[in-house]
Structure formats: structure tokens, C-alpha cells
């Protein structure tokens, strides 16, 4: 795909996102000119809110692009958050803990791949199994009072971090948030510009066509779902090791499912998902600011609904005709 067709396709596919994006930019500029400090805080908070969502969305889209629906993202995140937390609490090593979380996610990915590719179980059931396993295991082994030894701290990237508006949100982040931004572009490149990506998309659209050309459908599905699991694991590690610093029961709080909405809103693309996750992140951040400021006399439960309400409106009203991969959720049977 050369540059001009790429952009043409990009503008056609992402039109609602582009319109939304422009509105967002104007709004941000307006607020920055009136209250710069709060605006930067909101944006920085938005990027971090978006991190687990876009990671979850990329987990989902890697699977679905290869034809496997993953509704177990929530469970993958939760168990990875817990494992990462435990490893850190025992070893005191943050990096080791992050890897443990990623590995835990990958193992759950392997489980999902085994259920849906090899056993050909209904994929919704498979994902539900993972969610239940995660809730059960973390609930059972959870010990109150345990905390992590430190958490991943923000690293300012020198002068870059001092750029107005975007400096703080983009260049003064903890490691997993940086890694996420890089991953968005890496996954985008892999999916749309490499051999692996072409084969993945073919397998998700028309597995038999890929099979007749000698592409190993099962292998591609396995690896994508496992990679997706690892990415969801990173999201879990983010929650305990970077955002909170401890583990709580059910701390994922529906993020795995919101990530699926983000993925659909982002039309099964990493960049689109990132945009959608940022939008969601901004509303979450604004919601927090409103609650802190106490400027509006509305019960906080209602303000807390804002991001979720937005998800519903966006999914129901603005996505328009977005089409999942044709073979999404359908087990492939070789004859």
C-alpha cells in the first residue's frame, strides 16, 4: 500500500474518529487557554486511563483479526494484575513482576486458544470460563494487607516533557504507559504491513482461503491469541504495579469489557482503538476533576457514570457501519 492510498483509506475508514478528534483538539485548546494546569492534569490522567483500555483492545483485536473472539480480557487482566502483584510482593523486583504478569496473561491466552481452536468450544463460553477462573483464583488467594514494594514511577524525557499541552501527558509517564504508546504503533505496523499481519487478517476473514494457500490457520490463531493474552497481561501489570501499587478484589472493574467497546469503536485497528481509549480516558479524567472540584451539585454516582454512558452513546450512535472480521467467532474445521 503506498502513501496516498493509505491516507485515502485511512480517512474513509476513520471519518467519525477524525471528526471527533478535531472537536477534542479544539476543546482542549480552549481549556488550556483558560486553565492550563488543570487541563494538563486532565490530559495526563487521560493517557493513563487509556492505557489499560487500549492494551485490552489490542488483545481483543489481535484475536478477532484472526477470528477468535476474546471476552476473557477482563479475566486475563485481573489474574495478571494479581500474579504481578504477588511476584513483586515476594521478590521486591518490579521488572520481574511485570514479566510475571505478562506471562500469566499469555498462559490464559493459551488456554483460550486451546479451548476455541483445538477443542472448538463456543468462544463466548471460553472467554467466560477465563473470567470466572480469574475471579475465583484471585478471590481465593487474596490476602489483605499485602502491598507492593514501590511502583513504577514516571520518567520525564528531558526537554520533551516541558512542551506545553502534550509534554506532560506524552513524555512524562511511567514505563508501561510508554510501552503502550509504542505497542500501538508496533501492532499497527505488524497488522497492516507485514507478512504475519496479512496472514492474520486473511485467517480472520476467510480461513479456508488461507488454508488452501498453505497458511497454517491453527498456528496463526494460537499465536495471535497468546500474544493478545500477553498484552492483556501487561494491562493487568499496569493496574497493580504502575497505577495503584496494591491489589484489590475485582480491581479491573469492567475495564476488560470497556476495552472490547473501545476495540469496536476503533474498528478493530490499534490506532482507532487508541483514539477511542483516549476519548474514554478524557471523560474519566474530567469526571474525576468534577468530583474533586465539587463545582456541580450532582450525586457523585451520576458523575461516575459519565465514561460508561459515553461508551453506550458512542457504540450505539456514532460507530455506524463497522464490520467485524467475517470469520470472527467461527471455529475452523479442516475437512
Amino acid at each position: 500500500m503506498d502513501r496516498s492510498t493509505f491516507w485515502k483509506g485511512f480517512f474513509r475508514q476513520q471519518r467519525p474518529l477524525i471528526i471527533l478528534g478535531s472537536i477534542v483538539v479544539i476543546v482542549i485548546l480552549y481549556f488550556y487557554l483558560t486553565t492550563p494546569v488543570i487541563t494538563e492534569a486532565v490530559l495526563a490522567s487521560a493517557v493513563r486511563h487509556a492505557t489499560p483500555l487500549v492494551l485490552g483492545a489490542m488483545c481483543g483485536l489481535l484475536g478477532e483479526r484472526a477470528g477468535i473472539i476474546n471476552i476473557g480480557i477482563e479475566g486475563q487482566m485481573l489474574l495478571s494484575a494479581f500474579i504481578g502483584f504477588l511476584v513483586n510482593a515476594w521478590s521486591g523486583n518490579l521488572l520481574l513482576a511485570v514479566f510475571a504478569g505478562v506471562a500469566a496473561g499469555a498462559v490464559l491466552g493459551l488456554l483460550l486458544a486451546f479451548m476455541s481452536v483445538t477443542l472448538k468450544i463456543d468462544q463466548i463460553i471460553g472467554g467466560t470460563v477465563i473470567n470466572i477462573i480469574a475471579v475465583g483464583l484471585t478471590g481465593y488467594f487474596y490476602q489483605a494487607g499485602l502491598t507492593t514494594e514501590g511502583k513504577l514511577a514516571p520518567i520525564a524525557l528531558g526537554k520533551l516533557a516541558e512542551i506545553p499541552i502534550i509534554g506532560r501527558p506524552l513524555f512524562n509517564n511511567p514505563p508501561i504507559t510508554y510501552a503502550t504508546i509504542v505497542l500501538v504503533f508496533v501492532v499497527h505496523y505488524v497488522l497492516f504491513y507485514t507478512r504475519w499481519g496479512l496472514r492474520t487478517r486473511a485467517v480472520g476473514e476467510h480461513p479456508k482461503a488461507a488454508d488452501t494457500l498453505g497458511v497454517n490457520v491453527y498456528k496463526i490463531r494460537y499465536i495471535n491469541v497468546i500474544l493478545g493474552g500477553a498484552i492483556a497481561g501487561l494491562a493487568g501489570a499496569f493496574l497493580t504495579l504502575e497505577a495503584v501499587g496494591s491489589f484489590e478484589r475485582l480491581m479491573t472493574n469492567g475495564r476488560g469489557f470497556v476495552a472490547l467497546a473501545v476495540m469496536i469503536f476503533g474498528r478493530w485497528t490499534p490506532l482507532g482503538s487508541w483514539g477511542a481509549a483516549l476519548l474514554f480516558g478524557v471523560t474519566s479524567a474530567i469526571q474525576t476533576q468534577i468530583q474533586f472540584a465539587g463545582v456541580i451539585d450532582i450525586p457523585h454516582q451520576f458523575i461516575g457514570m459519565l465514561p460508561y454512558l459515553l461508551t453506550i452513546i458512542v457504540l450505539a450512535g456514532m460507530v455506524g457501519k463497522s464490520r467485524p472480521p467475517a470469520a470472527d467467532g467461527i471455529p475452523y474445521e479442516k475437512e
Binding site: T194, R195, L198, R201, H206, G214, E335
Partner: protein, 531 residues
């Protein structure tokens, strides 16, 4: 456009008689590109291939002829590595080979053009062609180079495609070229075409035959799977006929005629012409008055048509597809509410959009698309056979279904209508096309029929099934039903109908007795010109 259409149609009509130029019989000493010896492939309950021998000479077009389910596709899937044979040997260029998966076949320069195209609809032509054999620049796909290669290839073989086009946006005939290019891109010199004309218009099919000829001139050897007699007679150098998993024999178009081939295929004498007595029409069963029908967007597509069908006659509706026939059928079967007008069944006015009322008044409907409108593919054959009557005695008692009665009904109909199925509880989707159609015919004709509405009832079926369905339709006529028969095939309309109504742009332009019109005249009427 209207002024050009008649000429085009006449051209395609005359082309049918003026067969593609045949080549002189081939020299016996030409080496074999491919040979299969004693291939046996068993599926649970059937032997799909029983000690099948098949050979393909270099540069020939070898027609592989047989009814649906005769084992043609199985044999080719064995050769392409999609199935593994239980017994038998394969030779390429005289050397014994093992083909365990498509990858092996591709390595041996075998390519396949599948009946249901193996193309990713949302991918571009280029992406589809390179999939599995990608050109890379580092880790990145080199789509520019791939496009150049494809352009060169497509020009070299006269297969015009736009490498950037998205598959779902190009016509079926062009999609097929992409399938062919996919094989050529992998250096195939043996090409298997599996029922390639099933999805093509007659013009596209003629194009394809020209392309096939051209490919053989460039050294490609072609296996051409089909169940259409005319096509093998037109293009094949040799013809191998299969029946029930076995090879019946190999012959050439010079040595045999269509009738002989049909006999080999079916295993008995086949009546290619429909035999029927003259009609003796009685009182009208269906009367349609000033019917107008709109399409989905609210545009009027059928304009104020009136006609009647009498007891004991077959009225054929002829017309190029998309001239309102589908909408008329949908209106008359209650699937679509007409914009205005009325229709009567046995003198009683029928309501709009109420299929059950119509069925209870004696309407039987064989729909155009058997898989979408005729059957519930995931239901058993038995359940499909009571789709119109499940709520009545004896199939229901109060709120409960009577499964015993459903099963007995199915067993009886399977025997009566010769449906080849492993059993009544098998999913309809598992049957072959011909047998699916027989399930529909069995269901529709097992009720008392006042009006039989058959829309393209033989589309995509093999000779044996076509003959059977024609016979049944004529039987219904002779038993006193009125038959409304829609077909895009002129030959079929002319041999089956007693009267013919020609539809053009949503109107009935003419109604004729079948013995008072020639095929050429009908063709002109269908194209909108006066005779």
C-alpha cells in the same frame, strides 16, 4: 442501452450454436502431466472415490464430468492435498509424489480454481494473490513489487485485472481471473477448475473458455470439472466421466454426443427433451389484476401487470434477471406486500403479505434460492419437510409436536421423492444441492396443490435431478394444478411451458403460446424490442 441489448442477446444466442473451434485429436505420445492410480477415498458411510484412475496429458483440457456427488471434487481435492487418499498413488511428470496438504501441491506446481472462490472479500486483488507467497522488503510487504509482478502476469496471459481493486467490489468473472492468477503467480502448470461456470453469465463463461484455451497454448494442462454437457463438448480435448465414485470411462468429444455422455453420467438413458402431452387448460386458478410492486427503496419495479394461470397448464415467465420476476413471485407468495392491485386464488381474493393464508389456500412455492428461502439449513430433513404444516394435525397435538408423525412423514417422502440422505434426522445443510431441492419439492408437493409457483427450480442442479424435477412439475400439471414457472434459461422455458409471458422492465410485454414462437423471437422480446 436498450437499443444495444437486442444485438448482444442475439450474439450470445448464435454463439451457442457456433461452438468454439475444436482442435484435432491429440497425439497419443504426449507425456502425462499428472496421473492418479487407483485412488480410493472413504468418508463415513460412503466411498467417494473407488479405485479411480485419471490421467492428464500435457497441454490438454481434460473434462471431468459427473453428477453432483459423483466424486469429481473429491478426486481433485485429493490431488490438491485438501483430502488425503486412503489408497492409491499420484504421479507428476512420471514421478511418484506425496501430496499431504495444499502446500505440497503448490510446490508441485498444481493450482486450483475453486468453485466457491477462495478469496478474501475485503482484501485487494494483490493481497489475495500474494497471500502465502508474499514478496518482502525486510519485514515489510513489498506491495509495489507485487503489483508490478501481477500486472506483468495478467498482461502475459490476457487476464485483465486491476491489482488495487477490492475483491468484493469487482464482478464475479473478474474474481475468477484473480483465482486463476493466484495459481499462475505460484507457477502452476497444472490447473484444476472446479465447476468454474456455475457462477458465470454465458458471456463470462465464453471468456473463460477462451482463457483456458490460451493457457493450454502456453503449456498449462487443465482439468475442467463440470456437470454441464455442452461445456465439455465445447472445450475439452478428452472427457472422463465419473459416477458414484468410479470412473465410467474416458472419451473425446469427437467420439460421443451429448446423449451418450448423459447416459454415461447417469447410468441410464436420459431424456434431455422434456416429454409432455398437450395441455388441457380448464378454469383459471390464479388471477392477477393490475399488480404493482415496489422494491426495498420504494421504487415501483413491477408496473400494473395482469395475467392468469389456468388449471392444467404451465405458464412460463421468461425474462432477463432483474426485470421484476423476483418481485412478482415475492408478492404472490406473501413475502412482499404489493403497492397496489389484487390477486385471486380459485376466485377468492388473497390478502397481502400473509404466506400462511396463501399456503392454506393451496399455494406451493419452490423458491429461487433454496438455501436462503427454501430450507432451514440447520434443521433436520424431517423438520424441513413439515415447515408449512408443523402446526396442524397430525404433526402437532395442541401445543405439542408429534415427532413420531414428523418422522414417519419424512421417511415416506424420502422414499417417494428419492431423496438421497443418510437419514431423516440429518441436517438439510449436509445434503447435496440436488437433494436439498428434492426435500423442498417433496414438502411443497406433498400438500394438495392448487397453484405451484416454481422459481428457477433447476438452477445449479445436475442432469438427473433436472429431469426428475421437470417430470414432477408436469405431473402436477396433469393432476390439475396450475403452474407458474419462472426461469432465465430459454431452453428450459420453451420445453416446459405451455404458454409464455415475457417480462421486460417490470411489465409483461407479451403472452404467447409456446408453439407459436421461436427462441430468437423470445430473445428479442426479452431484450425489449417488438417482434
Amino acid at each position: 442501452m436498450a437499443s444495444h441489448a437486442p444485438q448482444l442477446l442475439m450474439e450470445s444466442l448464435t454463439k451457442k450454436n457456433n461452438q468454439l473451434e475444436k482442435r484435432i485429436p491429440m497425439n497419443e505420445n504426449i507425456p502425462l502431466a499428472l496421473e492418479a492410480r487407483k485412488i480410493t477415498k472413504r468418508f463415513p458411510g460412503v466411498v467417494a472415490n473407488n479405485r479411480v484412475d485419471f490421467s492428464l496429458k500435457k497441454g490438454e483440457i481434460h473434462g471431468l464430468l459427473g453428477e453432483n456427488g459423483a466424486g469429481k471434487s473429491t478426486l481433485m481435492n485429493v490431488i490438491y492435498g485438501l483430502y488425503s487418499a486412503d489408497e492409491g498413488e499420484l504421479f507428476i511428470d512420471g514421478e511418484m509424489v506425496e501430496i499431504n496438504n495444499p502446500h505440497d501441491a503448490i510446490d508441485l506446481q498444481i493450482g486450483m480454481v475453486h468453485q466457491h472462490f477462495m478469496l478474501v472479500p475485503v482484501f485487494s486483488v494483490t493481497e489475495n494473490i500474494i497471500l502465502g507467497a508474499e514478496v518482502m522488503k525486510g519485514t515489510t510487504l513489498d506491495l509495489n513489487k507485487a503489483r508490478q509482478d501481477i500486472t506483468r502476469l495478467s498482461e502475459g496471459y490476457g487476464l485483465k485485472v486491476d491489482p488495487r481493486a477490492i475483491i468484493e467490489e469487482i464482478p464475479v468473472g473478474v474474481q475468477q481471473r484473480v483465482e486463476i492468477l493466484k495459481a499462475l503467480y505460484r507457477d502452476a502448470n497444472i490447473l484444476v477448475f472446479d465447476e468454474p461456470t456455475a457462477v458465470l453469465t454465458p458471456q463470462e463463461a465464453d471468456d473463460l473458455f477462451r482463457i483456458m484455451r490460451q493457457l493450454t497454448e502456453q503449456g498449462v494442462s487443465i482439468v475442467f470439472i463440470t456437470h454441464k454437457l455442452r461445456e465439455v463438448m465445447d472445450v475439452a480435448d478428452r472427457i472422463t466421466v465419473m459416477r458414484r465414485g468410479e470412473v465410467v470411462g474416458t472419451t473425446t468429444p469427437q467420439e460421443i454426443d451429448k446423449r451418450g455422455l448423459a447416459e454415461m453420467m447417469v447410468g441410464r438413458e436420459v431424456i434431455l427433451e422434456v416429454e409432455k402431452d398437450p395441455a388441457s387448460p380448464a378454469e383459471p386458478v390464479l388471477q392477477v389484476m393490475n399488480l404493482s410492486v415496489n422494491d426495498e427503496r420504494g421504487m415501483e419495479i413491477v408496473h400494473d401487470i395482469s395475467f392468469e394461470v389456468r388449471r392444467g397448464e404451465i405458464l412460463g415467465i421468461a425474462g432477463v434477471q432483474g426485470n421484476g420476476q423476483t418481485e412478482v413471485v415475492e408478492a404472490l407468495t406473501g413475502l412482499r406486500s404489493p403497492a397496489s392491485g389484487e390477486f385471486y386464488l380459485n376466485g377468492k381474493e388473497m390478502p397481502y403479505g400473509n404466506p400462511r393464508k396463501l399456503i392454506e389456500a393451496g399455494l406451493s412455492h419452490i423458491p429461487e434460492d433454496r438455501q436462503r428461502h427454501g430450507l432451514v439449513m440447520s434443521y433436520s430433513v424431517a423438520d424441513n419437510m413439515v415447515l408449512c404444516t408443523y402446526y396442524e394435525s397430525p404433526f402437532a397435538k395442541g401445543l405439542q409436536r408429534n415427532k413420531q408423525a414428523v418422522l414417519e412423514n419424512a421417511e415416506k417422502l424420502i422414499a417417494d421423492f428419492d431423496v438421497r440422505t443418510p437419514g431423516p434426522m440429518v441436517h438439510a445443510g449436509k445434503l447435496s444441492g440436488g437433494n436439498q431441492q428434492k426435500v423442498i419439492v417433496a414438502r411443497e408437493l406433498s400438500r394438495p396443490v392448487q397453484l405451484l409457483l416454481a422459481n428457477q427450480p433447476t438452477r445449479g442442479l445436475d442432469v438427473g435431478s433436472i429431469e426428475y424435477i421437470h417430470k414432477r412439475i408436469i405431473e402436477e400439471r396433469d393432476n390439475g394444478a396450475a403452474v407458474l414457472f419462472i426461469s432465465a434459461e430459454l431452453d428450459e422455458i420453451m420445453s416446459l411451458a405451455d404458454r409464455i409471458a415475457v417480462m421486460y422492465q417490470g411489465k409483461i410485454v407479451s403472452t404467447l403460446q409456446v408453439d407459436q414462437v421461436t427462441k430468437a423471437e423470445l430473445g428479442l422480446l426479452m431484450a425489449g424490442s417488438e417482434v
